[in-house]
Structures are given as C-alpha cells and as structure tokens.
Symmetry: C2
Subunit: 203 residues, 2 copies
Amino acid sequence: MTKPNTKPITVWLTRKPSWLSASWAVVLILEELQVPYVIESFRFNDVKNRPCTDICPNGGVPGMYHHLEEVYDTEKKVTYEPLNERQLLNQYLHFQMSGQGPYYGQAGWFNVLYHGRIPSTIERYNGQVRRFLDVLSTYLSFMSWNCRLDMLLQTPPGEDPLAKYPDLIDDQGLMPNDMPKGINNIKEYEEQIAREAAEKEEQ
Amino acid sequence: MTKPNTKPITVWLTRKPSWLSASWAVVLILEELQVPYVIESFRFNDVKNRPCTDICPNGGVPGMYHHLEEVYDTEKKVTYEPLNERQLLNQYLHFQMSGQGPYYGQAGWFNVLYHGRIPSTIERYNGQVRRFLDVLSTYLSFMSWNCRLDMLLQTPPGEDPLAKYPDLIDDQGLMPNDMPKGINNIKEYEEQIAREAAEKEEQ
C-alpha cells in the first residue's frame, strides 16, 4: 500500500557491490514509509562523470537517509523524535560512515581487489575490522552482520570470523550463517518468516 | 558576551593533533553562539578506556556539532533553516567524515607515523588526497585549507602541493601559505585583521 497522490521517486542504482547496499537501504526506507518509487540503473563507469558528479561531486552514490526521513517519516517509523535518541542514532551513523565503512573498504581493497599482496597493510586493515567488530559487540550489543566477512578478511576455509562472539550470536538465537537455530536453508527460513507473519496477522 | 543563566558546557580536549581540530571546532561553535564553556583536558592514552568509551564506544572524541546546532543555534548562525541548504551542508559533512577525513588519515599513517615505508600503499593514499583536492577545487569551488599538506604528502622541499590550483588561490586573494597577498608574516596579518575589525566597527 502506498500513499496516494505522491509522484514516484526515482532511485538510481549502480551495480558496484559495496555501494549497492547503501542504495538498497534507500529502497528499504521508502518501502517502510510507503513512498512510491521507481528503480533506474546506471553503469558504474559513469559515476565519476557528469551528470552524476553534478549531484555528488565526490563521484559516489549518496543515500540521503536524513532527507528521506525528514520529509517522509512523519510518523517516526525509522527514526526517533526525542533529541537524545536522534543524536545517538546520528552518532552511530557517523561511526559507520567515518569508521566502519572506510576501514572495511580498505580491507576489501587490499585483500580482494588490489593486484598485489602487501602483508603489513593487510594486517593493519584486518586488525581494524576486528576492532570494529569488538566495538559493535561490546558496547552496542548487537552485531552488524556481514555474511561476507570471511571473504573480506580472507579467513582460512572453515574458520568463522565471528567465532569470538558466541554469546552474542546465541543471544539472538542465530547461527553463524545468520539463520535462526534449527533452520537448514533459505527455503525453510522463508517458510518460517511467512508462518510468523500469518500468526501475527491472526492476533 | 555570553548568554546569562546558562550553566557552562565542559569541553574535553585531548592533545592528539589530528583530533584537536575537531575539538576546537566545538569551541568555535560555542564562541560563535555565545554559549559559556570551560575546557578540560585528558590524556590520549585514556581515550580507549572507560569512562571515555561509555560516551564514545569507538574510543574517539566526538564533536556533536548537530546536537550543539540544534539546541543552541536558535538564530541559525552556523547552519541553515531551509531543508535544501541544510541537506547540502549535511552532504558536505558526510563527504568530510567518510572520505576526506579517513583518507587523509591513512595518508598520514603511512607517510608519517608508520615505522616502515610501503611505496604502493603510500601511492594509493597520496593519490586519494589529491583526488579529494580535485573534488574540492572543481565542484565545491573552495579549498579546504590544510597548511600541513606538504607534511601529509611528504612533498619535496619547495614543492607546493596546491600549485595545481593557482586560480582558486588567486580568486580569494591568498598566497599558497594561506595569507593574503602583500602580507609577509603572521604579525602583519593580525594587524590587518585588527584594522579591518576597527573599520567594520566604525561603519
């Protein structure tokens, strides 16, 4: 169900994997707020050229979450009204933007994308990724799940990069693959989600 | 002149140079908004421990600019009222937080702080710093001045890292050392600033 009489927003997506999640976050917000939208795609090759750079001079794909929230989230579904809660959310956003994002990005660059292999540089950024996991697990009490952590850190086959945090994973009733305990595959998971939604509907 | 009947805010500073500018930005905002404050200092060694991490789990020194603006900047002296201007300002803040800050930081780490020398890694981050200078100069039409760019990039003695942007510097009537043309040293500069302030007072 979408709000009537609203001109659809155009969401521009590009297929660079590490940026795609930021673009899908926009879609998640629009879905949650029931704002109509259409999706258009463009080539990654074009992002550093005009007209893209007229909108984002840095040649990135901005998400504009604040803007969407302020304009469309009149019922505060994806943000908070009180000053304190809103600023804590903002603090977490800046932790992600200035720390987690850039450092995961550097780890990805030197582990996966760069043509050479520089052990001391890789050591620095893998260490930073582990530090961010520690911050997330210890103080923020929830894990920013990333099912490609093993690829990012290039951990040996069979080694679980989140093994250090068993209680946290256990608390949420999840297994290391992010699925609930007792669920064997994505089909079973989808069936469980549908079943829970139906039960909620009945109440 | 400060606003009466306001309990002074305590500004906590630590002497890590790259963080000090963020802390001084808080002081600049408080001065501009005439909010009373007192300065306390703490050791850099303590920043990754409690009680610091109770406030900032990442062990950094947060600036809380948004919070200060929202609570104290009732006359919109350091921000904007209209949605569009405010979000453009926010876009620039995130450019600094997610791009300029972290990448300048990596350049500083590998050029200055790290005990070894890794040419290919240095090349990556010096290239990124130059890319950010290009973005700032071409689209945002003003330069984020940094009088330690030569140290950051370890440019050869006598080489000006901003030589590529003569028009921009010229437009603002500045010399590469950030002082106005015709001014030979900081004493002359301070005298000029005092003279201009006096002239403005008379008008």
